[in-house]
Amino acid sequence: MNSIIKVSNLTKKFNGFVAVDHISFQVEEGEIFAFLGPNGAGKTTTIKMLTTLLLPTSGSIMLNGFDPVREQAQARRSFGIVFQDPSLDDELTAKENLEFHGVLYKVPSVLLKKRIDEMLKFVELWDRRDHLVKTFSGGMKRRLEIARGLLHHPKIFFLDEPTLGLDPQTRNHLWSYLQNLNNQEKITIFFTTHYMEEAEKIAQRVAVIDYGKIIVQGTPASLKAKTKTKSLEEAFLVLTGHGIREEEVTSLDRLRLRRRMWRH
C-alpha cells in the first residue's frame, strides 16, 4: 500500500517546551486513522504542522508526496480540514461560505456551482443554502464545514475533534457520511477525538500520543490485546493513566510515562 502521510521524527518546541517530541507514523491511502491522546498531549499541534499552520522545529512530513514546508501550495491543495473550533463566516450564507472556499482553492467556476449543490445535498443542507450561517445549530455548522472541507476533492481529510459538543444522533449521522465517503471515494481520513467508542468503531488504525510522544500505534484490536482490556477506552486509560491532565507537565508525569512505555 501507498503511504499518503509520512511523518518522521517530527518535533515542535515552544520556547523550550517540547509539545511534539520526535514522533513518526504513516497513514496509508484510503485509511481511516484516529489520532488519540489526552488534553495537551500534542494532537492539535501535530495537525497544525501537517496542515501548514505551524512550522516544525525539526523532522519531516510528506503529505500526498509534498512537503508542507517547502511545497506549501501543493500540500494545501491535497487536504481538506475541519478545525476543532468553528471556522465559518457567520455573516455569510451556507452557499457563500462554500463559494468563498471554492475560489480560494481555484475550483473552476463551471464545476464549482455543480459541486456546491452536490455537497450541500450530501450534508443535507440544500434547503438551508441561502440562510446566514449564524442561524445554524452546532450540528448544521459542523456539516457545512465538512461539505466545505471536501469541496475541492481533497485526498486527505483532517478532522480535529469533529464531534465535540454534538448530540449522539448528529454524531452518528456525521460518521456515516464520512464512512460513506471513505468507501466510495477512497479518501483518507485522519481524525482526533475524545470519544473512544467512536475511534474503536470507525478507525482502522489508531495512534496514541501523550506528552508529545507516540506511545503506541496499531489497530484498535491490537491495542486491546496488548493492554488485555475489553474496550479501546479501557486500553486508552491504561496507556495514558487515570489522572486528570493540567496543561503543565511535571517531571513525575514524564517518569510515569516512561514506565508505561516500558511495560507495553
Partner: protein, 249 residues
C-alpha cells in the same frame, strides 16, 4: 489571483452591507461632531474671521469617519482569528499577500463608502463644495486615506492576540491621530511642537487633501498631500503585509 482578491473584497463588502447596525452606529459619531461642533463653534469661528466653520470642519469629519472605519476594518482580523475564520483563509493554497490585498481593498472600499455617506450628510447640514469638479479629487484622497489606515489596522491586528489591547490602541493611537490632524482646527500659526506633531500625522494630509479638493483652501497643497499620502500608504502596505505574513495560529 484576481478572483481570490475579488472574493475577499466581496466578503468584506457583504459583511458591511448586512450589518445595518454597524452602518448606523458608525455614522452616529461623525453626525454628532458635525452638528455639535459645526453649529456650536460656528458663531465664534465666524467672529474670529475664519468664515463658515461647517465649511472648514466637514473635510475633517469625513476624514475622521474614513479613519475609524478603515482601522476597524483592518482590526476585524482579530475577530476572524477569534471566530476561527482566519484559519480557513490561512490553510488555503493562496499567498498571504493576496489575502492582505483583498482584505485591504475590501476594508478601504467600506471606509470610502462611509466617507461618501458623511459627505452627503454634510451637504444636508449646509456644506457646499467649492468646485463640483474637484469632488472626484476629494474621493481619491478618501480612497488613499482609507487604504493607508486599513493597512495600519491590519498591521496592528497582526500583532495583537485579542481585543484586550484594543482600548489602548483607541486611546493612544486612533484618538491622537484624529485630534492632532487639523481635522478640527486650522494648521496655520500653531505652536512649533504641535505644528511638528501634526506634520508627522498621516491623517493631516488626508484632512488637508480633502479640504483642498472640497473647499479650495489647503495648508500643504493638494499635490503634496496626495504625494505624501501615496508614499505613506505604500510604506504601511509593506509593513502590514510583512506582519500579516508572520501571523501564526
Amino acid at each position: 489571483m484576481l478572483d481570490v482578491i475579488y472574493i475577499l473584497w466581496l466578503r468584506q463588502l457583504k459583511r458591511y452591507l448586512r450589518s445595518r447596525s454597524r452602518i448606523v452606529g458608525s455614522l452616529g459619531q461623525p453626525v454628532l461632531f458635525l452638528i455639535a461642533l459645526g453649529f456650536g463653534f460656528g458663531p465664534i469661528y465666524a467672529r474670529a474671521g475664519g468664515g463658515s466653520y461647517i465649511q472648514f470642519l466637514t473635510p475633517g469629519i469625513i476624514a475622521m469617519s474614513v479613519l475609524f472605519t478603515s482601522i476597524f476594518s483592518g482590526i476585524e482580523i482579530i475577530w476572524d482569528r477569534q471566530f476561527g475564520f482566519l484559519k480557513e483563509t490561512l490553510v488555503a493554497p493562496v499567498s498571504r499577500l493576496e489575502i492582505m490585498i483583498g482584505r485591504t481593498l475590501g476594508g478601504a472600499t467600506v471606509a470610502t463608502i462611509q466617507g461618501l455617506i458623511v459627505f452627503v450628510i454634510s451637504i444636508v447640514a449646509g456644506f457646499r463644495p467649492d468646485n463640483i469638479f474637484n469632488v472626484f479629487l476629494g474621493v481619491i484622497v478618501m480612497i488613499l486615506t482609507a487604504i493607508l489606515f486599513t493597512a495600519l489596522g491590519t498591521a496592528i491586528a497582526s500583532v495583537l492576540e485579542d481585543m484586550q489591547g484594543f482600548q489602548l490602541i483607541m486611546n493612544f493611537l486612533i484618538m491622537p491621530l484624529f485630534f492632532l490632524s487639523g481635522a478640527l482646527f486650522p494648521l496655520e500659526g500653531l505652536p512649533p511642537v504641535l505644528a511638528f506633531i501634526t506634520s508627522i500625522d498621516p491623517l493631516s494630509y488626508g484632512v488637508d487633501g480633502m479640504r483642498g479638493a472640497l473647499t479650495g483652501a489647503s495648508h500643504f497643497g493638494t499635490g503634496t498631500d496626495i504625494a505624501i499620502l501615496s508614499l505613506m500608504t505604500l510604506v504601511l502596505l509593506g509593513i502590514g503585509s510583512y506582519l500579516f505574513s508572520k501571523i501564526q495560529i
